[in-house]
């Protein structure tokens, strides 16, 4: 394995002592196709970090390697300082295609992570009920996924990830399958969720507006092979109403700024 040299184009991130997830020299080949090249990233505890980039730049690949679902070709991921060898209880994944079991009710789906841990039914259902209510699906416990809308299914996936009480939530384009209105509602929900839960969110999106709106930090990835091209910390006022924020100068400027940077990769 070759040594990982620091690259000039990677914005150096000051080493914080409280980085819950650290990515060190991570590369991924699919056969001979280089999907990601030497990624170095830090994810501070309690922040909401977005991975933003053009389609095919390796966002899902990166997220799955952090989740331990995919083995890196080189480099490693550290969670709470320990190298990742597979999925672990401190991380929970929200899938882009929901990944709900069609034969199980909402409550069984939400409690599934706890079921796998061998928690007794009464106890895990009590916890699941709480999170079902938290994502606004109270009353739908006994329904099946095919009876729910796309947005509701994604909430089930979110509740399932919350129910295992992981420190890090890994979300792969969780809002891409819903309409714009629901999407904005979800963004508000995500922000309020972040206020009440002391969790770290790593969030994949390819909507610049969404990334700027919800994130503390945005990691911009470039394509072929995927690399970190920039890290942006949007300085957006968080105290206004959603409409005020969306009209704020700094919000709009940040979007413009990112868009200028991304244009280079859209060919």
């Amino acid at each position: 394995m070759q040594a990982v040299l620091p690259r000039a184009w990677e914005t150096p991130v000051p080493a914080k002592p409280d980085n819950i997830v650290e990515v060190r020299g991570l590369s991924k080949f699919y056969g001979s196709f280089e999907a990601l090249k030497e990624i170095d990233l830090d994810f501070p505890r309690g922040e909401l970090i977005s991975l933003l980039g053009p389609s095919g730049c390796g966002k899902t690949t990166l997220l799955k390697m952090i989740a331990g679902l995919l083995q890196p070709t080189a480099g490693q991921v550290l969670v709470k300082g320990k190298p990742v060898t597979g999925p672990g209880p401190e991380r929970a994944f929200v899938f882009q295609d929901f990944a709900l079991m069609p034969w199980a009710t909402v409550i069984r789906n939400v409690a599934f992570g706890l079921e796998l841990r061998g928690m007794p039914k009464a106890q895990r259902h009590e916890i699941a009920r709480r999170y079902i209510a938290e994502v606004g699906l109270a009353g739908f416990e006994e329904r099946y996924p095919h009876e729910l809308s796309g947005g509701m299914r994604q909430r089930v996936g979110l509740a399932r990830a919350l129910a295992v009480d992981a420190d890090v939530l890994l979300m792969d384009e969780p809002f891409s399958a819903v309409d714009e209105q629901t999407r904005r509602k979800f963004q508000e929900d995500l922000l309020s969720l972040r206020r009440v839960q002391r969790k770290t969110f790593i969030f994949v999106t390819h909507s610049i507006e969404e990334a700027v709106y919800v994130s503390d930090r945005i990691v911009l990835l470039s394509r072929r092979p995927g690399r970190v091209s920039r890290i942006i910390e949007p300085d957006i006022p968080r105290d206004g109403t959603p409409d005020e924020i969306r009209r704020d100068r700094r919000y709009l400027d940040t979007i413009e700024d990112i868009w200028d940077g991304l244009k280079r990769f859209v060919d």
Binding site: P89, A99, L116
Partner: protein, 275 residues
């Protein structure tokens, strides 16, 4: 089109004819099934009355023959004889078939070893083996059980194998991400997700088993249903012969249908309202 619409809206809003209301409200699967059955029996009756063929008795006569054979007990004792090797053969095929098929889907080594064998077995006309089976194993129970197994096993194995191979990878990743063990993955994700195809395989396997047993009884030794068919043909009791044939077809269809219900209630509760 617009004319049609205009006429539609201009219709007097009175009580809808009860027939239309009935059509629109309930689930009529049973009704349509019975109707198609009745049409079939009607056509049979007409064809038998013409008659299309001297050996084709009308439906009514066949039905009376069926009742007669029920009454004199010959049909029941024939079924008792036939069912024994059939049930044994199907249970063996189902247990081995599902186990081997699932294993083939899960483990590359098992796939390598077994897949070619079963693919050849499914493609080959296995019924041609039945005389060979008789030659090797005689005319007893073993041969009949083998005849059923040889026909039922390949379909069951290959369907289970395909079922496991086609399990939604995203659900498997989900199970892994929540630290499910390999065993939990198989029991809680792979088997339920594969169950529709596994059961489709079992249904096909059972139909194949019925073919196997009837062939065995016709080719090896006339016993049970096969004997009944052969005997009534030889004495030109065509009504009895058709009654026996029809009864085994209906019996097989009902068995296969029952299995579908079992599947839905065991593994796919979400389909309960649809089925």
């Amino acid at each position: 089109m617009s004319q049609l619409l205009a006429r539609g809206t201009g219709m007097p809003v009175g009580p809808t004819p009860s027939f239309i209301r009935w059509i629109a409200t309930r689930d009529h699967t049973l009704f349509w099934r019975l109707l198609s059955l009745a049409l079939f029996c009607g056509a049979w009756e007409v064809a038998g009355q013409i008659p299309v063929n001297y050996a084709l008795p009308p439906f009514s006569q066949t039905f009376m023959a069926f009742v007669g054979m029920l009454a004199d007990g010959s049909l029941l004792s024939a079924y008792a004889t036939t069912l024994q090797p059939l049930v044994i053969g199907i249970v063996i095929s189902a247990v081995i078939g599902v186990a081997v098929g699932v294993l083939m889907g899960l483990r590359p080594l098992a796939e390598w070893l077994a897949a070619p064998v079963f693919i050849v077995m499914q493609a080959a006309p296995m019924a041609a083996l039945i005389p060979l089976i008789t030659f090797v194993y005689g005319i007893g129970m073993t041969s009949k059980v083998l005849a059923v197994t040889v026909l039922a096993l390949p379909v069951i194995v290959l369907n289970c194998y395909k079922a496991v191979r086609n399990v939604n990878p995203s659900l498997v990743a989900m199970c892994r991400s929540f630290q499910g063990t390999r065993w939990q993955q198989v029991a809680k994700i792979v088997i339920p997700d594969a169950s529709p195809l596994i059961f489709a395989g079992l249904r096909l396997g059972i139909s194949a088993g019925f073919i196997g047993i009837v062939l065995a009884e016709l080719l090896i030794t006339p016993t049970g249903i096969g004997d009944l068919i052969t005997y009534h043909r030889s004495v030109a009791n065509y009504a009895e012969m058709y009654a026996t044939i029809a009864s085994i077809i209906v019996f097989s269809a009902v068995t296969v249908g029952g299995l579908q219900r079992l599947e839905v209630s065991l593994f796919r509760p979400e389909k309960r309202e649809i089925a």
